[in-house]
C-alpha cells in the first residue's frame, strides 16, 4: 500500500523486520489477513478489484420477477425479514424480503 504509516503496531513490525533474519520475517498485518481469508475461501478470485466484483457493484438493487411481483411486495406491510437471495438466479416471490412503505414522517422531525 501507500507511504509509511507511522502508527504504533505497523511501525513496530517494520522495525522487527530489519532486526530479524530473513527466514523469521514477521508478516505485515494486511498479508496475515489475506492469508486468513484465503484459508477460509480458497476459491476466491485472484483479482479482487476485477470485473466480477465491480459488476456486482454496478448491479446493486433488488431484483424482482416482474412488476406485478414488485407491486405485491410493496403492498405487503409485514415486518418479517426473509433471508435475501444472492447469486444470479431470478428470485421467486417467497424469497424476497417484504418491503415496508415509507410514507410515515421521519422520526428526526418528531
Amino acid at each position: 500500500m501507500a507511504a509509511p504509516l507511522g502508527t504504533g503496531a505497523r511501525a513496530e513490525e517494520t522495525e522487527q523486520e530489519k532486526q530479524d533474519t530473513p527466514e523469521k520475517e514477521p508478516v505485515p498485518p494486511e498479508r496475515a489477513e489475506e492469508a486468513k481469508l484465503k484459508a477460509k475461501y480458497p476459491n476466491l478470485g485472484q483479482k479482487p478489484g476485477g470485473s466480477d466484483f465491480l459488476m456486482k457493484r454496478l448491479q446493486k438493487g433488488q431484483k424482482y420477477f416482474d412488476s406485478g411481483d414488485y407491486n405485491m411486495a410493496k403492498a405487503k406491510m409485514k415486518n418479517k425479514q426473509l433471508p435475501s437471495v444472492t447469486g444470479d438466479h431470478i428470485p421467486t416471490p417467497q424469497d424476497l424480503p417484504q418491503r415496508k412503505s415509507s410514507l410515515v414522517t421521519s422520526k428526526l422531525a418528531g
Partner: protein
C-alpha cells in the same frame, strides 16, 4: 479564508453536546437510516436525507442576546418526501428512494433551493415561507364554500392578513433518465447555473433550468464490460473555477478535468495518485484504497479524499502524492479479513472541512468520529452517544487500544460495534457547530462558549 470564531486545534476546541434528533429505540426501521447531511451556505439551515426518501430541514433559532452561552438551537423547519421507490421495468430492478446526496443552492431570494438525488433522479426543491393569506373574497366564504351570488350586495377588495408561518416544499425541476448506473454525487458549479451528477461510469452536466437535456462530460465505460477495472466513486466542482471539477475512483486515483479543454473530458488535466509499495500489496489493497469521498477545501487550493483507513489532503499543484495523510482507524488493518466478510470494508465514509480549512473531520465505527487539526497535527476521537447528553459538558476524548494492555477508559478493537457507523458528518460553514449522523440519529455539537 473565513475567520472561524474560536478556531484553534482540534483539541483546543471544547466540543459540547447540543442536541440529538431521532428515535431513542434500538430497533431501527430501515427508512430512518440517515443517508446524507448538509448545511446550507449560511449555516442557518441543516438538511438530512434518509433511506425512506425523506428530507428533514432544521433551522437555527435566532441568537438570543440574553443567552450568550449558546448559539441557537436547530428546530424542524420543513420535512417532505423527496423521492419514492420506483421500478425499472426493463431490468426488473427496484430503484431505491434513498437520498444519496443533498446540495444547497446559494440563496438568491426569499426562498431556499436544494438539489436532492436518489440513484437515478435529481430533483430541485423550492422551500418557501408563507406567512400571509388573502381574505375577503367576494364569491367565497372563508372556509372555501361558494356564496350564493344573489346574496352579494357589495363588493370588497380581498386583503392579505398575517397567518401562522407555513413552510412549503415544492419540486420545481425533475432531472430524470440521464443515468444508467447509480448516482453517487451531485455538485453545483460556482456559476450557480449548472451542476454535475456522477454515477459509477459517467458524469453529466446539467443546467438548473433545463430538465430535458444534459451533457455527458465523462464516460469511462469500456467498450467491452469485461475490461472494466474501475468505477467513479465521487465528483465535485471546484469552488471557484467554474471550468474545473474532480472525480475519484475505486482504485484510489483522482482526476482533475478542465471543461475548456474539450467537450468530453475523458482525458484528465491532472491525475492524483500516490505510488503504491508493491511489496505491501495484498488482496485488500485495492478495496481499501477506493476513495469514498472527495471534497475541495473552501479556498480551492486543496482537496481531501477519504479511503477506508485514512484521510488524505492533496495540494492541487502536486499530483504524485498527498501533502498530508491522517490515519482514521489504523487498528482495523489487522481486522481486514473479518471486515471483508461482514462487508464493512465497503462502507463509504464521508469527510468534511471546517470553515477555515484548518481542521478536517470524518466518521468511524462505534459511533466514534475523528478530527484532525492540520496546523497543530493533533487529533481527537469523540463519540456520538446519548450518554453524553448534558449540554455545556465538554465531550470526553475516546481512545481505542489496538493491542497489548488496555488502559482504563480505553476500548479494545474487538469491543467496537461495527454496526454503529458514522458515515455522514457536516461542519457549519462559519461556526464551530457540527452535525454528526449515527445510523438513525442526528447529533449536533457546538464548541463551549464562555
Amino acid at each position: 479564508m473565513t475567520e472561524v470564531k474560536g478556531a484553534g486545534g482540534g483539541n483546543d476546541i471544547q466540543w459540547c453536546f447540543s442536541q440529538v434528533k431521532g428515535a431513542v429505540d434500538d430497533d431501527v426501521a430501515e427508512a430512518d437510516i440517515i443517508s446524507t447531511v448538509e448545511f446550507n451556505h449560511s449555516g442557518e439551515l441543516l438538511a438530512t436525507g434518509d433511506k425512506g426518501g425523506r428530507v428533514v430541514i432544521f433551522q437555527q433559532e435566532q441568537e438570543n442576546k440574553t443567552q450568550s452561552h449558546s448559539r441557537g438551537e436547530y428546530n424542524v423547519y420543513s420535512t417532505f418526501q423527496s423521492h419514492e421507490p420506483e421500478f425499472d421495468y426493463l431490468k426488473s430492478l427496484e430503484i431505491e428512494e434513498k437520498i444519496n446526496k443533498i446540495r444547497w443552492l446559494p440563496q438568491k431570494n426569499a426562498a431556499q433551493f436544494l438539489l436532492s438525488t436518489n440513484d437515478k433522479t435529481i430533483k430541485l426543491w423550492k422551500i418557501s415561507e408563507r406567512d400571509k393569506r388573502p381574505e375577503g373574497y367576494n364569491l367565497k366564504e372563508e372556509d372555501g364554500r361558494y356564496r350564493d351570488p344573489t346574496t352579494v350586495t357589495t363588493l370588497r377588495v380581498p386583503v392579505f392578513r398575517p397567518m401562522d408561518l407555513m413552510v412549503e416544499a415544492s419540486p420545481r425541476r425533475i432531472f430524470a433518465n440521464a443515468h444508467t448506473y447509480h448516482i453517487n454525487s451531485i455538485s453545483i458549479n460556482s456559476d450557480y447555473e449548472t451542476y454535475l451528477s456522477a454515477d459509477d461510469l459517467r458524469i453529466n452536466l446539467w443546467h438548473l433550468e433545463i430538465t430535458d437535456r444534459s451533457f455527458n462530460i465523462v464516460d469511462i465505460k469500456p467498450a467491452n464490460m469485461e475490461e472494466l477495472t474501475e468505477v467513479i466513486t465521487a465528483a465535485e466542482f471546484h469552488p471557484n473555477s467554474c471550468n474545473t471539477f474532480v472525480y475519484s475512483s475505486s482504485k484510489g486515483t483522482i482526476r482533475l478535468c478542465d471543461m475548456r479543454a474539450s467537450a468530453l473530458c475523458d482525458r484528465h488535466s491532472k491525475l492524483f495518485e500516490e505510488p503504491e509499495d508493491p511489496s505491501n500489496r495484498s488482496f485488500f489493497s485495492e478495496i481499501i484504497s477506493s476513495i469514498s469521498d472527495v471534497k475541495f477545501s473552501h479556498s480551492g487550493r486543496y482537496m481531501m479524499t477519504r479511503d477506508y483507513l485514512s484521510v488524505k489532503i492533496w495540494d492541487l499543484n502536486m499530483e504524485n502524492r498527498p501533502v498530508e495523510t491522517y490515519q482514521v482507524h489504523e487498528y482495523l488493518r489487522s481486522k481486514l479479513c473479518s471486515l471483508y466478510e461482514n462487508d464493512c470494508i465497503f462502507d463509504k465514509f464521508e469527510c468534511c472541512w471546517n470553515g477555515s480549512d484548518s481542521i478536517v473531520m470524518t466518521g468511524s465505527y462505534n459511533n466514534f468520529f475523528r478530527m484532525f487539526d492540520r496546523n497543530t497535527k493533533r487529533d481527537i476521537t469523540l463519540e456520538a452517544s446519548r450518554e453524553n447528553n448534558k449540554p455545556r459538558t465538554v465531550l470526553k476524548p475516546r481512545k481505542v487500544c489496538a493491542s497489548g494492555k488496555r488502559k482504563k477508559d480505553e476500548i479494545s478493537v474487538d469491543s467496537l460495534d461495527f454496526n454503529k457507523k458514522i458515515l455522514h458528518t457536516a461542519w457549519h460553514p462559519k461556526e464551530n457547530i457540527i452535525a454528526v449522523a449515527t445510523t438513525n440519529n442526528l447529533y449536533i455539537f457546538q464548541d463551549k462558549m464562555n
